[in-house]
Symmetry: C2
Subunit: 286 residues, 2 copies
């Protein structure tokens, strides 16, 4: 690998730059960002060597697209039009169906790989980029049968070198499950933050009374609206289903509290405690 283009130098794009540079000290990393300020920060932090120019898209071994999912859909066809004979164009978005659809019939579909690294923090922008963000994380790949085999094999080798666990899934399944384990968490957290901010106009009460539990449940409410708005809309069908089930569970729990149904409340929580074992499996928590 000699040259990488990164489009969007935020948390994901920037962290990818940091790790690729560590793995391959000799490569040139160039990039773009819709924000000139972020672009300058990315240069100052040495995430990229310089701003990408036209011909870089031809020469790149890898073009990583790390921008909001609606913009990804819009930009991908042009990126494929302009990519080189040995360029792999890869997205990293949190939805996969619409993105795969956007390039489905593109004559150069073989140059594209749909990916979703399950990695991130609640922070955004190039200052949020961190080393080893991808180590130990899942990297979900979709419709790999449509990606040119040599390009796919090369990039999977890189994912392995980054310490990622590569998984294969179809876009439909990805979008359905990710609605539950990621998108719903973000909505629940944003709305919890909203509810508390609305009532606690005097923030001193939050300051005095909030424990670490509150911090944990509203952590995701710090996330980037620019990134999350198009995700919810692209994955609308699955997100609405997940949200409806969540609201229904809340309403049933509400009724049990109103009825002072101690046994029901206890049972519901005890059953859910099983999440301990599930999380233990994921994070090796104690």
């Amino acid at each position: 690998m000699k040259q990488v283009v990164i489009i969007g130098l935020g948390l994901i794009g920037g962290s990818l730059a940091l790790d690729l540079r560590r793995l391959f000290p000799e490569i040139e990393i160039v990039g773009t960002d819709h924000s000139d300020t972020n672009l300058q920060i990315a240069i100052d932090r040495k995430l990229i060597d310089r701003v990408a120019v036209e011909k870089d898209y031809q020469l790149a071994d890898l073009t990583a697209v790390a921008i909001p999912v609606n913009e990804t859909c819009r930009m991908l066809p042009t990126l494929l039009d302009n990519c080189g004979e040995n360029t792999l164009v890869m997205d990293v978005g949190s939805t996969k169906s619409d993105i795969c659809k956007a390039v489905k019939s593109h004559p150069r579909r073989g140059h594209f790989l749909a990916s979703h690294p399950i990695a991130g923090t609640e922070f955004s922008g190039p200052t949020a980029a961190i080393h080893s963000l991808f180590r130990g994380k899942s990297q979900i790949l979709c419709e790999t049968e449509s990606t040119r085999k040599d390009l796919l094999e090369n990039v999977i080798r890189i994912f392995n070198q980054l310490g990622m666990r590569v998984l294969f899934m179809n876009p439909k399944d990805h979008d359905k499950h990710i609605a539950y384990v990621s998108h719903l968490s973000h909505i629940s957290s944003f709305m919890l933050g909203k509810t508390v901010l609305e009532i606690e106009k005097n923030e001193k009460n939050i300051f005095d009374m909030a424990g670490s539990g509150f911090g944990s449940t509203v952590r995701l409410a710090k996330s980037s609206p620019a990134m999350w708005t198009p995700i919810f809309i692209q994955n609308k069908k699955n997100v609405l289903t997940a949200l409806d089930e969540y609201i229904l569970n809340l309403q049933e729990f509400r009724k049990m509290i109103a009825d002072e149904n101690s046994n029901g409340i206890f049972q519901d929580m005890q059953d859910t405690n099983h999440i301990r074992e599930v999380l233990k499996g994921i994070y090796n928590e104690v």
Copy 2:
């Protein structure tokens, strides 16, 4: 201080024992727990010196009640009946109105202090007890005007030595605000965990696809049902109000997604991002 009785040797009672022993190496700490297993663990971990006997309640300088809030209400009158001339009986529950009411007209009301340390983790039982749990945390005291002045002053000195920030609040305000910043977080987390466990019968999907954000939002769903069931019921009125507002916000957000109202979704999330500054104030986060 010479002797302390701790009733309930879980996360809070056990952690209190650890810190008091560090501060006052010479005191005797005795305790009880409804679970014989937990009692034995508490002795093995040296949280307590021995099991409390009848006369300890007379001799104790401090009797800390760290059991579910319904049992606290039930037990407090008897503890006051049997306490010594210089004993302070203190609860640490997450509700304050019912607990204060339970001893309001007790002839020895002056021996009681209603407290709520804003400290904890999602774990429970004596194995969850940790050192310095209370350092830097709020300790909310209610109706201190009804506590005997010398007993109150002594225990506040101890709270300060534990590194706590002592605050005064009336039980009604406490219960109202805590419903938002703590009780609602727990319900939102439990129901999120329930929703995901219901749909992801095959837990491999959670394992493969859940990121740290999911772990963060469902962390509180590991909490103890025995502790939380009576809290929700005792604080029913406030919890239902908070829950209704939360559900309403979720429904409005749902509608915006259904309508593909990007501007509305973006604005709602951007406004809620303000939680960053609020949390920064609490946890000194970056």
